[in-house]
Symmetry: none
Subunit: 226 residues, 2 copies
DNA sequence: CCGTTCATTACCGCTGTGTGAACGGGGCAC
DNA sequence: GTGCCCCGTTCACACAGCGGTAATGAACGG
């Protein structure tokens, strides 16, 4: 998971301890100007802003995190009870808040809930590998933005492959795991479906499914490839 | 604004006072069975569930409010600190929570923020998808301005579809969610209703409901959000 | 050079879905 | 109570297309 942005620098000891105990990565951010400078390559995974001290700078950091094309989320505030008025008209600057001094349990529960909400709440269930994307909810597949018109078995086979990239499967294993344990049929059936999958993936991505001679098939790149 | 559902009946005095002082309309709900019976014509505007007593019934009420085509939102929980563990794995049952005993200011701030986040705090009386508009209050449906003369089951099925665009549902799921958990009948019933829906939608929009062979049906196009 | 393994194509049986029609129960008017 | 009508459900049938198999050709390895 990407690191959290945490304000101020250094953060309150109890906040740092709570984050460390819960196992989250975090990076202290001293002010709004540092938001972009310190941002990891993979982006911020969220933000915890203690606004009980240096409230003005704290809200400036919030603005820097939220006034961008893709607002950083979740953003959890730490405020004193006397600051509740300041939250009005600032709804867009935070997702949740926690009253200081806070109970670690409450803080962790709020953080987890926000992570769930901003995670599974919005993103569909996907299997991705390189340019290939399988949407498990809509039963649709795409490669480099081009939708694939797959039949049921083709989709199931590709789903199984994409869920276990780099691993080699014999035809018997594939028949068991994809077609079902009670299926008894020729092993050549797998070949034909692999062939149809390669055709629909297009010449460009046909290599995603590699044949391992006298063994079976492998999806994606082997870990030992040079 | 539509009234809140409040559990239990009667609610804790401090909760009732906080809601009254803030000027919200609310209706006490004794249990999960009463959720539908007591629902106002305009639907629930949200829910405040005190789970510090009768936790089991409280969560049953939450489920009744959330496991519907259009989940009731916002839903704010009241819990004791010792109940924080129970919130895990129940993320989908609530939007925010407040620790009891609560400060009225904090409770009000949370409620206001949730009302802002869920969008003016009113349950959408319309479901729209492209040219299709479902009016939940008047039980009417229109497509490109042309009113559709739908029967009850047709309307319910279309409402369920439109509330979950892009997602694939098996016939069994549809029978459970639209016809009801206690329904036992042939899966082909779904086919016939889909066919009648497509006919009434007109040739132009019949494609809104797509059949996913050997899986089920899907409404509309899936969103390929990155 | 031969045997083995895989790719490719064509073909056919069968499952799943669309379509039309009929049944039956519940509700409403009278 | 009685008749009718509407709506939900089920049945029968046709058909498209999916999946499995066989046949043939090509590639690989020893």
């Amino acid at each position: 998971m990407a690191a959290f942005a945490v304000f101020p620098d250094p953060p309150p000891p109890e906040l740092a301890r709570a984050l460390d105990l819960a196992g989250y990565q975090w990076i202290p951010v001293p002010d709004d100007l540092a938001v972009e400078r310190l941002e990891p390559d993979e982006g911020w995974g969220g933000a915890i802003i203690a606004a009980d001290q240096q409230a003005e700078t704290a809200f400036a950091v919030c603005r820097a995190l939220r006034k961008r094309d893709v607002p950083v989320s979740p953003l959890v505030l730490l405020v004193r009870g006397s600051q509740l008025d300041e939250l009005e008209m600032r709804d867009e600057l935070y997702d949740d808040f926690c009253l200081a001094p806070f109970q670690p349990r409450e803080f962790e529960a709020r953080l987890k809930h926000q992570l769930w909400r901003t995670g599974t709440g919005t993103k569909p269930e996907l299997i991705e590998y390189g340019d290939l994307v399988l949407n498990l909810e809509t039963y649709q597949a795409m490669v480099t933005g081009r939708p694939l018109d797959l039949t049921y078995m083709e989709y199931e086979l590709l789903k199984f492959f994409a869920a276990h990239p780099g691993k080699v499967f014999t035809r018997e294993i594939l028949l068991n795991r994809v077609w079902g344990y009670d299926y008894y049929g020729g092993a050549r059936t797998v070949d034909v479906h692999v062939r149809r999958l390669r055709a629909k993936l297009g010449e460009e991505h046909a290599g995603l499914i590699q044949t391992v001679r006298s063994v079976g098939y492998r999806f994606g790149q082997s870990r030992w490839s040079s």
